[in-house]
């Protein structure tokens, strides 16, 4: 299966829309050949490129060289160095122009890509966890993106993909990068974040002669981008992933001739697994290669492109025709801003705050994002609440993604711990109920 990971396209075909001029497939292969010798000999390549074209070149060069590519969970220095703990000599790459051309530019075709990609996610003990992916695994996941695009009536080569998810993240890697190099969509060089970024990206794509755009995004971005999408008729299809999408939001985007909104279900471990059109479907349809099986500890997924059976983070109801209904998340996993983390790990991180006698983070399921509340027992040394809030936030910020910093802090006399030190779900719920019964906490006169 490794032979078919990358498309073979005419050298003159448009590959990427970029500010300083378009890049063709010929440019891509020439740049990969030029960069390969410069990367060779390094233990691993930490690919921090923020521009998608540069990222794709470094990625393909390392894959072709048979090297490991390391993708940290964020570009923050702490996250990068933690991801490189086992490979401190990895070469960090960012901009293509900073890499000197190899003299003996390799001209080996890219049919075979023996390298691996290690996608790191924030782990349950604080250390990031690597997820090993091969080129053909990522190509298979990107097939779902490609099928959705076809379902929306769009032709891959005449359609550009714009994404709000960084390409170092599994979904961004699959949809924006492998959707391009393996499935033939046209790449957009920049990551889109603000509505004006989206407007600029679509204008650049149309100026390059591509008239159809698919937007790969996540629920929090979609909420903010909705208005811009309505004013950009070139956006013909929206794909949302990484967190459950509010169906009202999907309907709003689709209303009055807006583009169809498809939702992808998956995880870093499985890649894209299933899809639905959220405004009209409750039921999920898996990619044809997947099969779902019940196990003693919950459901798991199998597919030929995955190395083993992979447990799902959710409970499902499997229907006779192989489609399924999502019932809810399992265990202590929390999801905010499209990122997952273990609540237990977050509390473990909290216990490391110096000068905090005791504390507990409790999660509430919200529509879309979960909501975190931090309960603290204040020390008797006169530390005020604002100081404590800063202390906790700055400690957690070194260990977890900032989206997992609790928004609400409430001082309590004690944390209701049982004999083993654990707080039962019932006691945690009681803490939350008391907190909301008292109304939002306001600091009065302690400052």
């Amino acid at each position: 299966m490794t032979g078919s990971a990358i498309l073979s396209r005419a050298p003159g075909d448009l590959f990427c829309v970029r500010e300083d001029g378009p890049r063709t497939w010929g440019d891509l292969f020439a740049d990969v050949a030029r960069v390969r010798p410069a990367l060779a000999g390094h233990d691993a390549i930490c690919n921090l490129a923020s521009r998608r074209y540069d990222f794709a070149v470094f990625l393909l060069a390392a894959l072709a060289n048979g090297q490991s590519t390391i993708l940290p969970p964020s570009r923050a220095e702490g996250a990068v160095s933690a991801s490189l703990a086992e490979r401190p000599n990895a070469l960090r790459v960012d901009r293509l122009e900073d890499v000197r051309s190899g003299r003996d530019a390799a001209s080996v075709p890219l049919a075979d890509l023996p390298g691996e990609v290690l996608v790191f996610t924030s782990g349950s003990t604080g250390a990031p966890i690597p997820h090993r992916k091969l080129a053909h695994t990522l190509s298979e996941g990107a097939r779902l993106t490609s099928e959705i695009v076809a379902r929306a009536g769009l032709a891959g080569a005449r359609t550009a993909i714009v994404s709000t998810t960084p390409h170092q993240h599994m979904y961004g890697l699959e949809s924006a990068i492998f959707g391009t190099i393996a499935q033939g969509l046209c790449l957009n060089d920049t990551n889109v974040f603000y509505p004006s970024d989206l407007e600029a990206a679509v204008a650049a794509i149309c100026a390059a002669g591509i008239e159809q755009v698919v937007l790969a995004t996540s629920p929090p971005h979609l909420r903010v981008l909705g208005e811009a999408i309505r004013e950009l008729p070139a956006i013909r299809c929206v794909i949302s992933a990484t967190a459950p999408l509010n169906t009202d939001l999907a309907r709003d985007v689709e209303a009055d001739g807006g583009p169809p909104v498809y939702e992808i279900y998956g995880s870093t471990e499985t890649g894209a697994l299933a899809w639905r059109q959220s405004a009209v479907d409750e039921i999920w349809t898996p990619l044809d290669v997947f099969s779902l099986h019940p196990g003693p500890e919950g459901w798991f997924a199998r597919a030929p492109h995955l190395p083993s059976a992979i447990p799902l983070g959710d409970d499902i109801e499997l229907l006779e025709d192989g489609t399924f209904r999502l019932l809810g998340r399992r265990g202590d996993s929390i999801n905010i801003g499209g990122k997952r983390h273990s609540l237990g790990a977050l509390n473990a991180a909290l216990s490391g705050v110096l000068g905090l006698p005791d504390g507990l983070i409790v999660s509430e399921r919200g529509e879309g994002d979960d909501r975190l509340t931090l309960f603290v027992v204040m020390p008797a040394d006169g530390t005020n609440r604002e100081e404590m809030r800063r202390k906790v936030r700055s400690h957690l910020a070194t260990l977890v993604d900032p989206v997992f910093l609790p928004r609400r802090m409430i001082a309590v006399a004690r944390i209701p711990r049982g004999p083993t030190g654990k707080v039962s779900a019932a006691d945690a719920a009681r803490l939350l109920a008391e907190a909301s019964g008292a109304g939002p906490e306001r600091e009065t006169g302690q400052r």
């Binding site: 964020s74 889109v192 004006s196 801003g337 910020a397 400052r447």
Partner: protein, 95 residues
């Protein structure tokens, strides 16, 4: 930094922006006057790929017509503190 003659006006506007941040981010346990004017707005190293920045940008484009873009090199300066953000909005507002 304090070269603005009309410091009082900026201070009032800063208060308005602080209230907007508290409202937009649903900071239930922070009041607007608890946000220190010159302290970093986003904890330690919270970068622009944060949903908070997105929510704030959405609100300031709605209320003041100031649109932010990722490729703006001033972004880290704009978000460096409440004062800097308020100043940027005041200088670029169209509403």
């Amino acid at each position: 930094m304090d070269d603005m003659a009309d410091g009082g006006a900026l201070e009032n506007f800063r208060q308005e922006i602080a209230e907007m941040i508290v409202e937009v981010l649903v900071l239930e346990d922070v009041t607007a006057d608890e946000i220190e004017p010159d302290a970093p707005l986003f904890g330690d190293g919270l970068g622009l790929d944060s949903i908070d920045a997105l929510e704030i940008s959405f609100a300031i484009s709605k209320r003041y017509g100031v649109k932010l873009r990722s490729d703006d090199e001033r972004n880290s300066e704009i978000f460096s503190s409440l004062t800097a953000l308020s100043r940027h909005i005041q200088e670029n507002r169209t509403k």
